[in-house]
Symmetry: C2
Subunit: 441 residues, 2 copies
């Protein structure tokens, strides 16, 4: 399905405003860090009227204070404001952290004269450092004054939520629902500690695989009641953010929030009318989430190559997922992708130690261009094909390609959007212990 692309991301849907400001959350200003000193670090996303809300949250048991506050608040299905800071995750900050996250929400409500309970919070950055609440409050006041509905306002909000990302990530689409033009927009951030496994409750379903901070904030002017919105968001996240990995580390702060303010004037989508969300709405939301998720992988820390790992023919869906994640998170497979090396031996090794059922002499492994059905098979039924090494090297040379693994055991399939592992990733994450802003965690 094709959607009309719009500019303005989160302010493209009617009735939404945004802003992004610098309030020095990392408390820089001197020394090495000062060059980043004026990167925006606090964003506001505001609906003119209270909106329906749904959220998906990290299933990490060590879960940041803003996630806990959102979990409490989204239950009621209503929200009007999202306040987000970068530079500090407010994770592993104990009772003070929880107090700070609630204060951040309440202060925003007061600054915007919004009803109590209608502000949600998001944080990303260093773990284990208390939020500098004086900076946060000053930032909220400034951001409230600067709210607007132009593309520039959305750009500034998209910039303010970034950490090690090299560029903002934004999208907006328009489609027709009940004869009305409906819009969905979103911004997100990622870069490192990326293998989200989110659920609506923050609890991990038994069936869910265990797996950065990624934050995503979505707006729509569609009228959708909370239960339907939640179903739609869960479905969209399951096939997008929960299917990406940069480094295999699931963050303490992963959060996706979707606000629907109903200003498009469509007939409200209710659970009573249909247990599944309107198909066009679901398709558009899936598209928005998948495009944002892929932007996160492409802009992952040190990432040179993006690989879509497609496992099919697994005994079960869970098996397909396990095999795909084993390959997508194998240090040896990821370094071979970086080297442009079609090393199927490492791929066979990884599926072999995964929890998926694998029979060596049944496995096919091949490559294609993104979205292409023309697969170049390097291995069929466990045996190398006559395709030359040079041809295989050409297949894995592009910045993006697809890896196809057919287990020939059943009908289970899964897709994981993965990245290579590069010297830059190591260089970046080994950090600099002489950097004064690292103190504490």
């Amino acid at each position: 399905m094709k959607f009309k692309q719009l500019k303005g991301s989160i302010v493209a849907p009617r009735g939404f405003l945004a802003s992004g400001v610098f309030c020095d959350i990392k408390r820089l200003g001197t020394g090495k860090g000062s060059q980043k000193g004026n990167k925006r670090d606090l964003a506001l996303i505001v609906s003119e009227a209270p909106a329906t809300v749904a959220g998906m949250f990290t299933t990490n048991q060590v879960c940041a204070a803003p996630v806990k506050v959102c979990l409490e608040r989204v239950k009621h299905g209503k929200a009007q404001v999202v306040v987000v800071n970068s530079g500090n995750a407010n994770a592993c900050t104990g009772r003070q952290g929880l107090k700070d996250a609630r204060e951040m929400a309440r202060f925003t409500e007061r600054a915007l004269a919004v009803d109590a309970g209608l502000a949600l919070v998001g944080s990303t950055g260093r773990i284990g450092v208390p939020l500098p609440m004086d900076h946060i409050r000053a930032g909220i006041i400034e951001a409230a004054m600067l709210l607007g509905r132009t593309n520039r306002h959305a750009d500034q909000a998209a910039e303010a939520i970034l950490t090690s990302d090299t560029r903002p990530k934004q999208i907006a689409v328009e489609f027709s629902l009940d004869g009305r033009a409906v819009r969905i927009g979103g911004i997100c951030k990622g870069a490192g500690m990326i293998q989200p496994g989110m659920s609506p409750t923050g609890r991990r379903p038994a069936s869910q695989p265990l797996h950065a901070t990624m934050l995503c904030f979505l707006t729509t002017d569609a009228a959708v009641e909370p239960k339907v919105l939640r179903t739609a968001l869960q479905e969209a996240v399951a096939q997008s953010f929960n299917r990406i990995t940069v480094d295999g580390d699931m963050s303490t702060n992963d959060t996706v929030l979707l606000l629907a303010n109903g200003q498009a004037g469509n007939k409200p989508a209710t659970h009573r009318a249909s247990k599944t969300p309107p198909p066009t709405f679901q398709a558009a939301l899936n598209h928005v989430c998948l495009e944002l998720a892929k932007m996160i992988v492409r802009d992952g820390e040190g990432v040179h190559r993006v690989v879509t790992v497609r496992v099919s023919g697994a005994k079960t869906k869970a098996d397909a997922d396990a095999a795909a994640r084993a390959v997508a998170n194998s240090a040896l497979v990821k370094t071979s992708w970086h080297g442009g090396d079609p090393n199927w031996g490492r791929i066979m090794d990884a599926i072999g130690y995964s929890s998926a059922r694998v029979v060596e002499h049944k496995v096919d492994i091949g490559y294609s261009a993104p979205g292409s059905r023309k697969i170049l098979w390097s291995l069929q039924r466990g045996q190398p094909t006559r395709v030359s090494f040079k041809q295989l090297c050409l297949a894995v040379a592009p910045k993006e390609f697809e890896l196809h693994i057919q287990l020939n055991l059943g009908r289970g399939s899964a897709v994981i959007h993965a990245a290579d592992l590069t010297e830059e990733y190591v260089e970046f994450n080994k950090g600099d212990v002489t950097d004064p802003t690292r103190l504490g965690g």
Copy 2:
């Protein structure tokens, strides 16, 4: 328990001979590879008389031909020779691979005039390339002629089994059993694709965690019957090789073999006499395996720092193991170790997404020197202590240190011997696709 250290590793026990030769298994000789052209690549380990044997093998479902052959043969509990090549793993080589591994064993038996069925095989190196059997046969003939019982012979065998290792790994100890001086010796190799999870049957116990090629060959002159030897080896491997990780990738070829020829003249250890192996023998075997396992981690690909991760107070032993492996295999934790950064936030994140039960405000995290009981706590009950960042940096600066994670939820504990993740690891494993010897896998 202290053991007398001896030189000569596998030939230290009475009645064992060894040799290591170069037979050009990688088929080099020209171009880039020629500099490695004369590294020994085929080893023989021979007992003067048939010996009792026990083995532990990779639980990877994609399992190399030599592992399959060993699995068939160790069942009988008797062996006299081990023939090992490096440079080619004989993995993912289909029926031809299995035929080649069997031929390698039979050819060795004939060359040494040993009874059929008494030779075991090991291979390590590239996956997916047929064994160059003409080179292998020539190598076996030469190695058979050069067999000897001096330390130099053991050194040459220890060298011949290496791949990306930078140095040979050897040990031998002596202890007293029934008033007799008994010896155990061993050689091993590791470097990359290291997170063994071996079992005696190659089948994965439901309780066993999923997790390079590591090969280890052990000799002893103790008299131990097969069932007792197997119990002893399983126990020794469970607390050594199955508790190390370099890169989290479990190989297709992991193998440990132990030959016991009884020449020490002790009273044979039988299952009827005692269901558990003689305590001194078990302790000595545990010591030998743990020392060899640690040598593998220290010489892992690109490894700068070795960290012993000790998780205690977990709800169950399986929980402790899961938490320790999540930390030991987290790209973010491993890069912080490389950077000398005591980043407890990343450690909290990793235990939080592990399958272990974790309660944030109960967790203690600390550091000590290897084997020291003096722990410097960075986090207690989920809260940062007053220990300064500088002090913590000093604690993680040495080439080896211990990380203590106390979950305070129960009595489950586990230890994993882990390594950092460096630019050199990535550089080495991204490989060089222009290298002609890489063709095929």
